[in-house]
């Protein structure tokens, strides 16, 4: 069984089930790991001092899509006003707009009735249309096999298609009418409807109005495409996994069937495949071979396992850079493990490495027959030279603990 680790942070979405107004603070809070209350207070303060908070909130509300998983509850506002959400929001925005304009007038910045009233009208209409299109982007699932009759005709359509969340046409039409009306009022008040007046201004205003009406759908489509792309990436990952399993695991299984009469060989094959699969699954978290002591030990142990078909269990705690002395330690470990493989081929071999600060220790233990240390002839180079001698030359030391019948443990200390 394979789990692809999901390390990506949750996407930034409005959290409608936990929200009060539009779920912006709840969504931001969830993403940032901050209590939404703090954000809410921040927005309110920013709104009271200069109004930037209200504008920022409105922009966030318009641009952030709603979270998909929490559509059933709705924000506090939506729960309070029920289905009339769009109306409430529109009138709220109109009021906000009026408030802002009054604020501007109080500051002495008054652009004149010819601009203000069309603007207020357009805000209301725009809010109606935008609210209609701000529901969660819907990707329709394929119709259930043998489902009810209403879906029977849908089977012929593409498997996944984007669909608006059933906007009520009346509201959209009204919104559009408000915006167009605002545009006309603006033109009329500025005298642009008289034929010989500035045609450019008329065109500009019409284009602006059309953009306001159509932009929400366009935005929505773009969002749907993003979700489709995510789906495509998932499919690609699955295909890559299948290819890998085919190249490695199935090949090994075939080999194992051919070598079924040799249990040792089969066990070695299985172990090598296991190691390969693990390193593939943990790609990324695995250390670069050659970069650190633990990685070098891992590589050395793997090589011995492959060459001799003996399981060696490596446990490493801590790590350090692979300098000259660490390399000597790895080489000595290698020799000690090879020695264990040679003299205790049927026994479990454990390698334990621990790094603490500058000090690195490695224990190589087998449960083999053990031997009498004093009885080793002095001309045997294996342990004496390649393990003890090597450690001493690099400023470390090595000890061998063994007695006949009790297995052997080689202790290597560096630092």
């Amino acid at each position: 069984m394979v789990t692809v680790p999901d390390t990506q942070p949750a996407p930034l979405r409005r959290d409608r089930s936990g929200g009060v107004l539009g779920g912006v603070c709840a969504g931001l809070g969830r993403r940032l790991g901050v209590d939404p209350l703090i954000l809410r207070v921040g927005f309110v303060i920013a709104a009271c001092v200069g109004g930037a908070g209200a504008i920022g909130y409105a922009i966030c509300w318009a641009l952030l899509p709603a979270a998909r998983d929490a559509g059933t509850r709705g924000t506090l506002l939506a729960r309070t006003v029920g289905r009339r959400e769009s109306w409430m929001v529109a009138s709220g925005l109109v009021l906000l707009m009026l408030a802002a304009l009054l604020l501007f007038r109080a500051w002495g910045v008054w652009v004149g009735d010819a601009v203000v009233w069309p603007l207020v009208l357009a805000t209301g209409g725009g809010a109606l249309i935008w609210r209609q299109s701000q529901g969660p982007a819907v990707v329709t699932p394929p119709p259930p096999a043998g489902g009810d009759d209403r879906h029977a005709g849908a089977g012929a359509r593409p498997r996944r298609l984007l669909r608006l969340a059933r906007p009520s046409l009346g509201i959209v039409a009204l919104g559009a009418a408000l915006i167009v009306g605002a545009a006309l009022v603006f033109l009329w008040l500025n005298g642009a409807l008289v034929p010989d007046r500035d045609v450019t201004l008329a065109v500009l205003v019409v284009v602006t109005a059309m953009t306001l009406i159509l932009a929400p759908w366009w935005l929505r489509l773009a969002r749907g495409l993003t979700e489709e792309r995510a789906e495509r990436i998932r499919t690609q990952e699955r295909a890559e996994l299948a290819a890998h399993l085919h190249d490695s695991v199935l090949q090994t299984l075939a080999l194992m069937q051919k070598r079924a009469e040799d249990p040792r060989e089969v066990a070695a094959l299985a172990r090598r495949q296991e190691r390969e699969l693990r390193s593939w699954l943990n790609a990324g978290s695995r250390r670069e071979p050659g970069a650190s002591l633990a990685a070098a030990l891992e590589a050395a142990v793997a090589e011995i396992e492959d060459a001799h078909g003996v399981p060696v269990e490596l446990v490493a705690v801590g790590d350090r850079r692979l300098d000259e002395r660490a390399e000597a330690l790895v080489a000595a470990t290698r020799e000690a493990v090879l020695n264990a493989v040679k003299f205790a081929p049927e026994a479990l071999i454990s390698v334990y490495a621990e790094v603490q600060g500058d000090r690195a220790e490695v224990f190589v233990r087998d449960r083999g027959p053990g031997f009498d240390l004093a009885a080793i002839p002095p001309d045997r180079r294996g342990l004496r030279e390649s393990v003890l001698g090597r450690m001493q030359r690099h400023g470390g030391h090595a000890e061998i603990h063994t007695r006949p019948g009790e297995g052997t443990e080689v202790e290597l200390v560096m630092g």
Binding site: M1, T3, R278, N282, E313, V315, A316, V317, G318, L348, S350, Y352, E354, Q356, G357, F363, R365, R367, E409
Partner: protein, 217 residues
Amino acid sequence: MAALPRVVLVDDHGLFRAGVRAELDGLVDVIGDAGTVGDAIECIVAGQPDVVLLDVQMPEGGGVEVIRAVTPRRPAVRFLALSVSDAPDDVISIIRAGARGYVTKTISGPELAEAVLRVAAGDAVFSPRLAGFVLDAFAGQEGQAPVVADPELDQLTTREREVLRHIARGYLYKEIALRLGISAKTVEAHVSAVLRKLQLSNRHELSRWAVQRGWTQ
């Protein structure tokens, strides 16, 4: 021990369940097995086994979910994790959820039976790899004054560390007792104390692993 411990086997691979059943035959009393989280919870609550052999990775929440659902209703049931996974976050999470130990699926039948007996008796079972993970998680950055919320829970004593290092080196409990000049019971007490710290500590590294697996208090 008067009677064989009663065991329920939980793993989503039927072939593996059959294999373990055959290996444990006569060594413990396997009273049931289950292949899904839901079946497992039902089977354990109804059968009230002494020990549950629990796979870590299963669909619908895995072993952690089984422990979480069963423990409030059957607090006497003990869990031993049996997994192919060697990822530290898998292992640490299942231990923190309440498992009394962790062994890998390559363990031999008699060794597994011994581990079950030990868990049934209330002891903890640490494989060399688990011991390594725990040492790593509790590794004190000496000289750097680690931020320790609760020194009693967040650090290992010298003796506990010594016992864990021997487990990681591949020694059995009785060999450790012999080498350290203490009784086997004392070794077990040390391991149980480590297990308790592992489950209760709020140490950053441990909490991080729990969060990664979507498991928090």
